[in-house]
């Protein structure tokens, strides 16, 4: 069933909110009153419910099916966490209330911080970043601040080819020059390559941004050597923590030489993706970077945890580089993440990582005879990467294949990423899937592969055929951008005067 835009069914003379009229009063707006009300039609409450319920039915969601999205960790989102975040003591508390009235909120942040630094083996955590990319920015700002504090101004950041796009984008934001490092044959970074780049840019290395496990689903086995090389060059090691879900309870970034790593609470710790956000990206920091953590931060004081909001409260050695955001970060996500951690406990978190990795390898083994593994039959971590060799000469592209999955009831896997292999297909089942769910997924994928190889291209070209929409014309959207609804000229109404 089609659903119009709200503006096409809304009207200016109804309202979905009942408000008492303000009593007569003398306004104090000066000359700033607007001349007409905003030209936005409304829907009443029953119409609003129906509009958004109908829209929702056009979405795929974890709660309805498996999301084989590599590098995105789309796992179960417990409803306990939603309930907890909505307790009035968390959801209905203002960030600038007197601190004496929010001691429980500070306690919660302190406890979450303790879990994060303990899990990662790091010294401190900057809680306020609002998402993964914001955490990357925070970590790189801390690195730059540390260099500046040391009187240095190196310009180069090393980034492997397989990195998420946020890595080079973040480095560039701070004026760094990005130097790429190719992967070796097994899909990981070779310390020799790192050392070669360091040598080329001797004295000018600010650091490296490395994802581990990397975006090929592999643990960087030489990570310690890489860290040592960077440190020897006076650089810092930024680790992209998007894939932390693979190793919680199995290894700690702090033991690997990492100086800064963001943690996507909306991946590893299951705060919902919400169709694109909000997330949260706290950044754990090594002892060397800890003094540069931005405001606000928590400090262990004599009377317990202290909350430091401004420069006026700093103690010796604390050199925050500034502030990432107004207020204190994503409290709503903190509550959800802590509820998740407490529910799992140390034992459950480790088990979750093991199950995530086991599930990925189960999928790998279930498909590797039919699909193609760019780096051979080796253990993967929480995700498995295929390339498109198995589609060679079938006339079916990675895109076609992915879109055909939609007709089978699945969200497509991550495709064409990472860039290091041709026609990449990156599959991360997560620990939330049951064995029978994986078996069905594997069977479906095998059926699709065999269908492609048999030349049944009709099933692929132009797919999906059974989704709310067929393949969309993205070129047209970009060529002539229509980014909002415009009232058709014929039906334009005179905006009402504001009173």
């Amino acid at each position: 069933m089609e659903e119009p835009l709200l503006f096409e069914i809304g009207r200016m003379d109804v309202c979905g909110v009942d408000l008492d009229e303000a009593e007569d009063f003398a306004p104090a707006l000066g000359s700033h009153a607007r001349k007409a009300v905003p030209d936005l039609p409304a829907l009443t409450e029953p119409e609003t419910m129906r509009h958004y319920v109908r829209l929702s039915s056009k979405n795929y969601a974890i709660d309805a099916g498996l999301y084989p999205l590599g590098s995105c960790t789309m796992k179960h989102n417990p409803r306990l966490n939603e309930k907890m975040a909505r307790l009035p003591g968390f959801g209905d508390v203002h960030p600038l209330q007197p601190l004496s009235t929010v001691t429980g909120a500070v306690e919660l942040i302190g406890e979450l911080a303790h879990w994060l630094v303990t899990m990662t083996g790091m010294s401190a955590v900057a809680m306020s970043p609002k998402a993964g990319a914001h955490g990357e920015l925070c970590g790189m700002m801390a690195i730059k601040a540390a260099h500046q504090a040391a009187g240095r101004d190196p310009k180069i950041v090393l980034v492997p080819e397989s990195a998420h796009g946020t890595n080079p984008a973040t480095a560039a934001l701070l004026g760094y020059k990005v130097v790429s490092i190719e992967a070796r044959e097994d899909g990981t970074v070779d310390p020799a390559a790192v050392k070669a780049r360091i040598k080329e840019h001797e004295g000018d290395i600010a650091g490296i941004m490395l994802t581990n496990p990397n975006t090929c689903g592999l643990f960087e086995r030489d990570i310690i050597a890489i860290a040592e090389a960077i440190h020897a060059a006076d650089g810092y090691f930024y680790c992209d923590g998007a894939n932390f879900n693979a190793i919680v309870g199995k290894a700690r970034p702090g033991d690997l030489g990492v100086d800064a790593m963001h943690i996507n609470l909306h991946k590893t710790f299951s705060t919902p993706h919400g169709g694109g956000g909000p997330g949260a990206g706290p950044v754990v920091l090594s002892e060397r970077l800890a003094p540069f953590a931005p405001l606000p931060f928590l400090r262990k004081g004599e009377g317990g945890i202290e909350w430091v909001e401004t420069d006026a409260e700093l103690k010796d050695g604390e050199q925050p580089f500034g502030r990432m955001t107004a207020f204190h970060g994503q409290m709503g996500m903190y509550v959800r993440a802590l509820a998740y951690m407490k529910s799992h406990g140390a034992d459950g978190l480790k088990q979750a990582s093991e199950d995530a990795v086991l599930n990925a390898n189960y999928v790998r083994v279930g498909l590797q005879d039919l699909m193609s593994l760019p780096f051979g039959q080796r253990w993967c971590m929480h995700e498995v990467l295929f390339d498109d060799s198995f589609l060679k000469e079938t006339g079916v592209t990675t895109l076609d294949f992915a879109k055909a999955m939609i007709d089978e009831g699945y969200h497509p896997m991550t495709m064409y990423f990472p860039l290091v292999v041709h026609g990449a297909m990156l599959i991360e089942p997560t620990e939330s899937e049951s064995r029978s769910s994986l078996d069905l997924f594997i069977a479906t994928m095998r059926d699709l592969v065999m269908s492609a190889q048999k030349g049944e291209t009709d099933r692929f070209k132009g797919a999906p055929f059974h989704a709310p929409r067929g393949r969309l014309d993205e070129t047209r959207a970009a060529r002539n951008p229509v980014l909002k609804w415009e009232r058709p000229a014929a039906t334009a109404v005179q905006p009402q005067a504001a009173e």
Partner: protein
């Protein structure tokens, strides 16, 4: 463990299928020296009931806004959000859906983002809006960076009426990105001469109205001066409800409008998640940060929506991207859009009038307290009062009497003697006559 579907039998069978007997064999690439066996320093798993009891205990130590007379604002505002909003955003299909990179199965998300962009553009009086930033403060920093790209200059002039923490976000990033910032001194009454700070090196002027201190600012002369010098005007707001009653920044010549959308659809949440609104002129769209949703057609000619102009974004453009933003505030946009749908333009105007009326009443009530002076002549739902003693002490004393009576300016601008006695008070549709009476009575006692 209740969230893990594999049973021990499943695990054993699956390990056998992949050819091993111990899952640790998979983790072979982790250097031996760095392998750990669990997180011994952290507690073991707990039942849902135990977790709920523990978090409920913590929540119980905080004073909820709804439970007391509440006048705290300064960039986050207590409003009533209809129950239908929170219900709808919790629908599985919205809550547990991914970023809509696969438009065929995410038209629900994409259509509401298109509706959101339309609403934000209409409210701000601009031509285009993006599908959200994290919040108003980070959006402001992105706006400054965008102005630098557009003007190919790198000096931002910040009004003394800009939220101090917004200023700090801009300053911190600018310092590390080798950009320049000229921030004017705190300006409670809106009397600064910002025009004098604009020159031919200026990339943008950043002005907040209503200002941090509540003062309404006339943006037109600032826009004129900025444009005359080839600079952009970035208009900032922290209270989106004000747009129901005061002239849209776009009508006043702003080039980029950025602000905090929390007031519509979103709770206080101790500071986050919130939703940054970001709008600009059509001609600048290829320099915009963030996601954009655009209309197109599908293979059958049916209208549909897609993320578009992604060549600006990090996942395509990498180190040439306009921003590194990826995850944004999708679900907060949805909350905003649903609440705004219920209100419509007329409802928003009415809500804004009630807010303003309550603020005017509050002003009258506070002016009746000896020694209290209101500093603003034109304001929306928030204003600054000068007290006869340090505001921080007064706020603590009020809290002990069960009234959350505003934000002392010194909390955000510490160590400035001329600001120490200033208190920022906000009012909204949730404040009753009883609330105001309680505030006044408590204030009289503590002054």
């Amino acid at each position: 463990m209740r969230y893990l579907p594999l049973s021990d039998t499943d695990r054993a069978d699956m390990l056998a299928r992949v050819g091993i007997s111990d899952v640790d064999e998979i983790f072979v690439d982790i250097p031996k020296s760095a392998r750990i066996d669990g997180l011994l320093d952290l507690p073991r798993r707990q039942s849902e009931f135990a977790v709920e009891r523990d978090l409920t205990r913590m929540a119980g130590k905080n004073v909820a806004a709804s439970s007391v007379p509440f006048f705290v604002g300064a960039g986050a505002y207590k409003h009533h959000v209809p129950a239908s909003v929170d219900h709808l955003i919790q629908r599985s299909e919205f809550l547990t859906s991914y970023t809509p990179y696969q438009p065929e199965v995410t038209q629900g998300t994409l259509q509401y983002l298109f509706e959101f962009q339309t609403q934000v553009a209409a409210l701000t009086g601009m031509e285009v809006a993006n599908a959200s930033m994290y919040d108003g403060s980070t959006g402001t920093a992105e706006a400054v960076l965008m102005a630098h790209r557009v003007t190919r200059r790198n000096k931002a002039v910040l009004s003394g009426g800009l939220h101090p923490q917004y200023r700090q976000v801009v300053e911190g990033l600018s310092a590390l990105a080798d950009d320049r910032v000229e921030a004017l001194p705190a300006d409670p009454a809106g009397t600064e001469d910002i025009l004098a700070a604009i020159d031919d090196e200026t990339s943008c002027v950043v002005v907040q109205s209503p200002s941090f201190y509540g003062q309404l600012i006339d943006l037109k002369p600032i826009a004129e001066k900025a444009h005359a010098h080839g600079a952009l005007l970035i208009a900032v707001f922290t209270e989106v409800v004000s747009l129901g009653l005061i002239e849209a920044p776009g009508e006043q010549g702003a080039d980029i409008v950025v602000g905090e959308g929390q007031s519509i659809g979103n709770g206080l949440n101790f500071g986050g998640p919130y939703v940054g609104l970001f709008a600009t002129r059509q001609k600048f769209i290829r320099q915009m940060p963030g996601r954009l949703c655009g209309e197109t057609v599908d293979a059958n000619g049916k209208r549909g929506f897609v993320l578009t102009l992604s060549t600006r974004e990090q996942h395509i453009r990498r180190d040439k991207a306009t921003s590194n933003i990826c995850t944004n505030s999708g679900l907060c946009c949805l909350a905003f859009t649903i609440h705004m749908t219920l209100l419509g333009g007329n409802g928003l105007a009415k809500l804004a009038r009630i807010n303003h009326a309550n603020a005017v009443k509050l002003k009258g009530a506070l002016e009746g307290v000896a020694g209290v002076k209101v500093l603003n002549d034109a304001f929306f739902n928030e204003f600054t009062v000068k007290l006869p003693k340090p505001a921080a002490e007064v706020v603590e004393a009020l809290a002990e009497k069960g009234v959350l009576g505003g934000v002392p300016v010194s909390r955000l601008e510490p160590g400035k003697a001329d600001l120490a006695d200033l208190l920022l008070v906000a009012s909204s549709e949730v404040n009753s006559d009883e609330d105001r009476a309680a505030f006044v009575a408590a204030l009289k006692e503590v002054l």
